[in-house]
Point group: C2
Chain length 479, copies 2
């Protein structure tokens, strides 16, 4: 593989350039003609499909159903909840014409669907019998990005899911908020092998229109935090303006309690950053579109026949449980194929040549550690399954180690400043005053990423003002 | 069930009103705040999910992959193929602003993605090694509807899939066009139990930009034809303006051959119209979100316990193979539940009461024929499976009969005129002249819906001009 086909910079030295090279060269995505928009190529999309199917199953098994909302929202509807509108307005794409005709009430492209969904919900919900209503929407959101855009991390249109639920009581709605964050955490940790810290957002960082926002945050290798997903408790902030109310069992009209929540293809961005290396993408087996690639190795026609037959046997043995592909392309050398599948992050490569067949063994090469080992043909299924599990586990352990090494407790402001420069998550005491939060942001570039559910109470002095702290929070610079 | 909860008009007497009442009352969809747009409720969306999963599997098993394209297309790109642009321009939604800022090259909301996809393909395809490229996109298309809109049949945004493929030779591309139409036909006939007639569109009716369009057309009970899906041979009409070319095996630069094809949620509209009756929706088992509903019947607490236990046993027996639900809602009577599930078109209802348990049998009620029968508990699995197959088959046979009864051969113009008024598909000879086609449309309201693949050659005189015919075609009024 020539130098310009492989990644030309190292992850350590030029993280940003390394990232975009992987996106393009692993054929995950490409730039669309409109700035800030990307196209997902089949390889990238199939990672999204894996993730989607895993999350969708969990949502359905907890009583959620899917629906569809149009992308166009009238301005009059979007502006019904004032904070919400003020928050999104600067980044809304507006449709003003259809054909040559001007549209009266101009139409927003969905930046998020609270307003549209709840205008419908208010028609559908009449009685306690109609609750809870738990609908999820797999679609895209559109927010015109002014800052520098980056594939998967910051684009003006992105694939996501947005869930919108309605409950009879505050308690039930708050349980839903927590349930969803748990489902998200489980999905990200088990499927993507990325550890997350869960907790609340500060008032300043919460979703516009929410009572509070819960979040999961992860550590990227450049020391920045990435918000991986959020689950919002909306209280009655939307049910009142949108008239989402019901007759309770005593026939009393009551405003409902609501939640909304979402994760996006940003998770693919996290996957690339956390696990990738200088050879390209490294995919955890559970979301890899191809988990095992078999490369036949031969240099004569007689060998070719024997080797291809053996690779087909291996494929047959594996294919019921494992996503396996034989790379039988005649126009490329084995060496080219190795590099190609390494770039694409396939977790395990199997090599089979005439000598291997003679020995009754295949060669396995792990993508995560690059380690080679032998496996007897008679052990194919068990051997491959167990090594895939090991890879999944190893990637998660490595990522946990990174998070651990880069999370520090600090109480001193100068120490804080220098550790933020080193790309750390800083656990520290905070007085709860938004002024301190803003000052820290100005002087260090760091936000309060999350107020963790665990270990929040403290009486240590606030890192900024030295008044008594209210809670422990995690500061970091973010994406 | 009170009169206003059920359908208040009959299918025969007021087909259009009957249709929209089903859409709303079976909770398939509802009107969005913007005219011409609809929201899909979970029950409607899950029919789309069934259909999608069946089609997606067939596409994947024939080597197609999924991808994602943004919804925004710059005007300069959309207008690159002149016929195509002229065809779509009047119904394009235009984004002119993001936030308060005006956008230079205004952005179209995707009416279809040929132009965007092929501008990407031209970057991705370099050599014969990159072909064929077969990508499908599950998304929505946006076309501002000026005519009267109708849920699923004519809306300004609709769910669909659009496939876009690139091939090295004309022959391979034409085979793809045919393969896809076959997959569509199979899906519609086997899953939706609706027979289709396949063939070509006339020049006048083909997709703007295509060399030719193949189509499948179905008969609706009001005698109008519905276009169920199309598969287009694009030739090199797009590869030339979009520069989709490749180096062939002899290193010669060659323009590629292309196809595009799509089906939409219009198929759900067809499903409603073809199978529904005066009690509501009737769903073919293969796409029914709930195939079997079990209604426990009891009037005392002691009976309740015994009956619920039995219904749970039945559910357990069925649930591995069949989508089954127990309706154990205490707040509704059995009678209300019967009507509710009839409205929603659940193919089979199981009733279990204390007397049934005493006799060792459950009562089955088919949605399609309303017929009741008994089934011994010991035969649950086999009995239910076989009756579901019968229902699927019966719906298809009924629809085939309708199509047969309403398809007539005519050669005489007056006869043609009166039979069109009767809501018939008219098979007739046509000279091939577009003037005759347009005259027929003006005088009878009927289009050439399809030039069937079977039985196309004829020398009978043209129904319009009486000159020698070129081919047999099917005229009908259409949606």
């Amino acid at each position: 593989m020539s130098k310009d086909i492989g990644i030309t910079v190292s992850k350590k030295e030029n993280f940003s350039e390394w990232y975009t090279q992987i996106v393009i060269k692993a054929e995950l995505a490409d730039y669309a003609p409109v700035k800030g928009l990307i196209v997902l190529r089949p390889y990238g999309y199939s990672i999204w499909e894996s993730l989607k199917s895993s999350l969708d199953e969990k949502l359905k098994s907890t009583g959620h159903e899917n629906g569809f909302l149009p992308v166009l929202i009238p301005e009059s509807l979007l502006s019904k909840e004032a904070d919400h509108f003020a928050g999104f307005n600067p980044e809304v794409f507006w449709v003003t014409h259809s054909g040559d005709a001007e549209i009266g009430d101009k139409l927003a492209l969905r930046p998020t669907s609270e307003t549209l969904a709840y205008s419908m919900y208010s028609k559908w919900i009449k009685s306690w019998r109609d609750l809870p209503l738990k609908i999820n929407f797999w679609n895209t959101a559109l927010r015109a990005e002014i800052k520098a855009t980056k594939p998967f991390l910051r684009t003006s249109e992105f694939l996501w899911q947005e869930g919108h639920t309605v409950h009879a009581t505050r308690e039930e709605a708050e349980e839903e908020v927590k349930l969803i964050l748990d489902i998200y955490k489980k999905t990200v940790e088990e499927e993507l092998a990325i550890p997350v810290i869960t907790g609340k957002k500060s008032e300043k960082e919460k979703f516009v229109g929410a009572v509070y926002t819960t979040t999961m945050e992860s550590m990227m290798p450049d020391g920045k935090a990435l918000q991986m997903g959020t689950s919002h408790f909306l209280g009655q902030n939307f049910s009142k303006p949108f008239d989402v109310k019901f007759l309770d069992k005593n026939n009393v009209e009551t405003f409902a309690w609501q939640t909304s929540w979402g994760v996006s293809w940003r998770l693919i961005g996290a996957l690339i950053m956390v696990h990738g290396d200088d050879k390209g993408l490294v995919l955890p087996p559970r979301v890899a579109p191809i988990q095992v690639v078999i490369v036949p190795i031969y240099y004569s026609d007689s060998d070719k026949e024997i080797v291809l037959k053996k690779t087909q046997e291996i494929e047959q043995t594996l294919k019921n449980k494992i996503r396996v592909r034989i790379d039988a392309r005649d126009e490329w050398t084995p060496g080219y194929k190795f590099h190609d599948w390494e770039m694409k992050g396939v977790p395990l490569r199997i090599e089979v040549g005439p000598k291997d067949i003679a020995k009754g063994k295949m060669v396995l090469v792990r993508r995560d550690t690059q380690k080679k080992s032998d496996l007897e043909f008679s052990n194919t299924e068990i051997g491959v399954e167990s090594i895939l599990k090991e890879i999944q586990q190893n990637l998660f352990e490595r990522a946990k180690l990174l998070l651990k090494e880069r999370t520090k407790q600090v109480s001193d402001f100068d120490k804080f400043k220098s550790e933020i420069e080193n790309g750390m998550f800083l656990e520290t005491s905070w007085c709860g005053d938004q002024n301190c939060e803003e000052k820290m942001k100005e002087s260090t570039g760091a936000d309060i990423r999350v107020i963790p559910f665990d270990n929040t109470k403290t009486d240590a002095p606030c890192v900024s003002c030295k008044r008594p702290g209210k809670e422990n929070v995690i500061f970091a610079r973010g994406y």
